[in-house]
């Protein structure tokens, strides 16, 4: 691990990402919102972020190890949206979540 590059490369479509160890996706019934929980941390997911995490990071029982690109395909199909319009936003979001330790490759 100490031989890793000084700064990690951004998340790419060919990557497979998953929730980092110790991170769980959960519905917060009291506040009626979806959250990522980590040690002493909580991140509230808006609808877009929730769908991106579900499609690309495959948490929970549906986990199938799909690549980020395959996740973007699914999102484009599910929301009947142009793929190009989605891909940039999804990659940026996943990269941000990875940099903050919620996702891992």
């Amino acid at each position: 691990m100490s031989s890793a590059p000084p700064r990690p490369a951004p998340v790419a479509e060919t990557d497979r990402v998953r929730l980092a160890p110790g991170v769980v996706l959960r519905h917060d019934r009291t506040r009626d919102q979806w959250v990522l929980l980590g040690p002493e941390r909580v991140l509230v997911l808006d609808e877009t972020a929730l769908e991106a995490v579900r499609a690309c990071a495959a948490p929970g029982p549906g986990a199938d190890g799909a690549s980020v690109g395959e996740g973007i395909d699914r999102l484009a199909a599910a929301f009947d949206a142009p793929r190009d319009a989605i891909a940039g936003d999804v990659l940026e979001l996943l990269d941000d979540l990875r940099n903050r330790g919620f996702l891992t490759r």
Binding site: P6, R7, G22, R26, D28, T30, E40, V42
Partner: protein, 377 residues
């Protein structure tokens, strides 16, 4: 009129004040609660249900040393079933692979292990237990091998503050996902030992520079939570995220506190888990209402545009330094008593008293630690 507060985010469950270590920086109270008074399994389980019902998302199982509880697996399982994210905050010196696997299977999400140093001899000296560091290293590797997430809690004080790089390397080597650069905060035993633990300003500046230099390369590899030592600061920390706003603490015998040091504040009345459900205590319990929000604030907090950013800082620190828990936290340079922080820090950093190790038989606070004394300095 009591306004409806936001629901709590997390509960610190101090399962026991017993601990095999004797760390002089411990934030437990000087009068430790005895084993005989500890809540039983059924009561803790009820408390977990109640706090989840009140809206909490996480429970931190702490102490003392939570692993001294033989029912830890049962408590973890119950808390997880209640929907709580379960975090074990431990010294790890008694943890082994078999128990880690049982805890994982019970639904534990995360393990935080304290490290008193990076050099075995120094770490063991601070922990007050020969061989502790080697045991912690072994347990930390087993945490990761078991598939649990690991946080390294790096205890930073005068004798370890120069080794912050070694702490980062240790966390990376162990495969931790997160590190807490935990500069000691001066409550409980740590307050009694402040003159032995306080770093110098120069040490602090060097440590701060090294942390900030390391951060970019750790992005995506290691989450860094950086607790800065506030005696040399100009603006206070938002202690506990604001009094009665995010956290509550339940002591080994069941007292419900807004923070783990709140019992140092004279005149406060704390309800117990036997009095009312946690949600009710959180909502309008006298101790929680006392410093919640901004209505209690004195000047200059009252007029300050940061009053909902730092919530007036820390009540227990205000008490320890000014003698008044309702005063502006003297860390803030708008406090009329701000100058005392630097005076105390510089005086203590230059002192070199022996460490006062945590001792369960201590009956009264040592004179140096008594808040009344601090107030008249």
């Amino acid at each position: 009129m009591t306004r409806e507060p936001e629901p709590p985010f997390a509960m610190l469950a101090e399962l026991s004040h017993r601990c095999p270590l004797r760390c002089p920086y411990c934030s437990n109270p000087l009068a430790l609660e005895p084993a005989a008074g500890e809540l039983d399994t059924a009561t803790w389980c009820r408390v977990f249900d109640e706090v989840a019902e009140a809206g909490a998302l996480q429970v931190h199982l702490s102490g003392g040393e939570p692993c001294v509880r033989r029912d830890l697996e049962e408590l973890v399982a119950h808390a997880a079933r209640a929907g709580l994210y379960v975090n074990l905050i431990t010294s790890a010196v008694t943890l082994d692979r078999a128990r880690l696997e049982r805890l994982r299977d019970a639904g534990l999400s995360h393990v935080q292990i304290s490290f008193q140093g990076t050099e075995p001899a120094e770490a063991d000296r601070i922990a007050g237990m020969p061989g502790a560091h080697a045991r912690k290293l072994r347990a930390a590797r087993e945490v990761v091998e078991t598939g649990l997430a690991l946080t390294v809690n790096a205890v930073i004080q005068r004798s370890t503050i120069e080794r912050v790089d070694a702490f980062f390397d240790l966390a990376l080597d162990l495969g931790a996902g997160r590190i807490e650069i935990a500069n000691v905060q001066y409550y409980g035993w740590a307050l009694a030992n402040r003159a032995a633990l306080m770093p110098t300003r120069d040490q602090l500046v060097r440590m701060d520079r090294r942390v900030k230099e390391r951060l970019p390369s750790l992005k995506g590899r290691l989450v860094v939570d950086y607790v800065v030592p506030d005696y040399y600061a100009h603006r206070p920390k938002a202690c506990m995220g604001g009094w009665g706003r995010r956290f509550l603490n339940v002591t080994p015998t069941g007292k419900v506190l807004p923070c783990h040091a709140a019992e140092t504040i004279p005149g406060m009345v704390f309800e117990t888990v036997f009095d009312r459900p946690l949600g009710a205590i959180w909502r309008d319990g006298a101790a929680f209402v006392r410093y919640r929000g901004t209505d209690w604030m004195p000047s200059p907090c009252r007029e300050c545009d940061r009053k909902e950013a730092d919530w007036g800082g820390c009540r227990c620190q205000a008490l320890a330094i000014t003698g008044d828990a309702g005063a502006t936290d003297p860390v803030c340079d708008l406090s009329p008593l701000h100058h005392r922080m630097a005076e105390i820090a510089e005086r203590d950093a230059a002192a070199d008293p022996p460490l006062l190790y945590r001792d369960p038989t201590a009956k009264a606070p040592p004179a140096e630690a008594a808040p009344a004394r601090a107030a008249h300095r």
